[in-house]
């Protein structure tokens, strides 16, 4: 069964600092997704990583995927308070045969950016 592990689960950082959130998964997959969730809200898609070596950047966030290491990272550069949220990674996995794909989420990283 696919396991998706994020670390850290809680991250408190100061504005202006850099940090990385890690997402490890246990079985072969070539697609990984990052989502953001604000308190009491739904999930919003941040990045779709479709292949080994994929790197995507949006503002102060950059995501990468290493399918051989089964690892994705979400790097935060010069954090600002508006980035405070919970960040989830999710991994595609095929179940059975054919087109059965399910999406498995990590437990999330609660990021708090302090002034």
């Amino acid at each position: 069964e696919l396991k998706v592990e994020q670390n850290p689960l809680f991250l408190s950082m100061q504005e202006g600092k850099n940090y990385t959130i890690y997402c490890n998964y246990s079985t072969t997959s070539d697609r990984l997704y990052w989502y953001r969730q604000d308190p009491g809200k739904s999930l919003e898609s941040l990045f779709v990583l479709l292949s080994n070596g994929a790197v995507k950047q949006e503002g102060r966030l950059m995501a990468s995927l290493d399918t051989k290491a089964r690892l994705s990272t979400l790097h935060i550069t010069a954090a600002v308070h508006d980035l405070s949220a919970t960040y989830f990674c999710a991994v595609d996995s095929q179940t059975g045969g054919g087109s059965n794909y399910k999406l498995t989420f990590g437990k999330g990283t609660l990021l708090t950016v302090n002034p």
Binding site: R31, Y33, S42, E44, S45, A90, T95, Y101
Partner: protein, 115 residues
């Protein structure tokens, strides 16, 4: 374009009562998912569907049933509600995985309390 709509947004049930949560999407997506979100547990997959008329079990299917009679709708049923089913339920949909932009789009969530 409404995206993914969940009905209802809030509900309080008594133990043993039954109810159905409705998820509707207007994006012609093939895949639909039901998740539950509990503190510290991330999102856990209850059931999913890879097309009209199909359903499959996820990680935590016990106590729930689903149906996908029409492509745009995915229903989640609680047969006999228990306090352990108190949670926030999210529905998500995504286009066929064969296309590049395969991120899932989420509904706004249903907050269910079983007393």
């Amino acid at each position: 374009n409404a995206g993914v709509t969940q009905t209802p947004k809030f509900r309080v049930l008594k133990t043993g009562q039954s109810m159905t949560l409705l998820c509707a999407q207007d994006m012609n997506h093939e895949y639909m998912y039901w998740y539950r979100q509990d503190p510290g547990m991330g999102l856990r997959l209850i059931h999913y569907s890879v097309g009209e008329g199909t359903t499959a079990k996820g990680e935590v299917p016990d106590g729930y049933n689903v149906s996908r009679l029409k492509k745009q709708n995915f229903l989640l049923g609680l047969e006999s509600a228990a306090p352990s089913q108190t949670s926030v339920y999210f529905c998500a949909s995504r286009i066929d995985r064969g296309l590049p932009n395969t991120e899932a789009f989420f509904g706004q969530g249903t907050r269910l309390t079983v007393v």
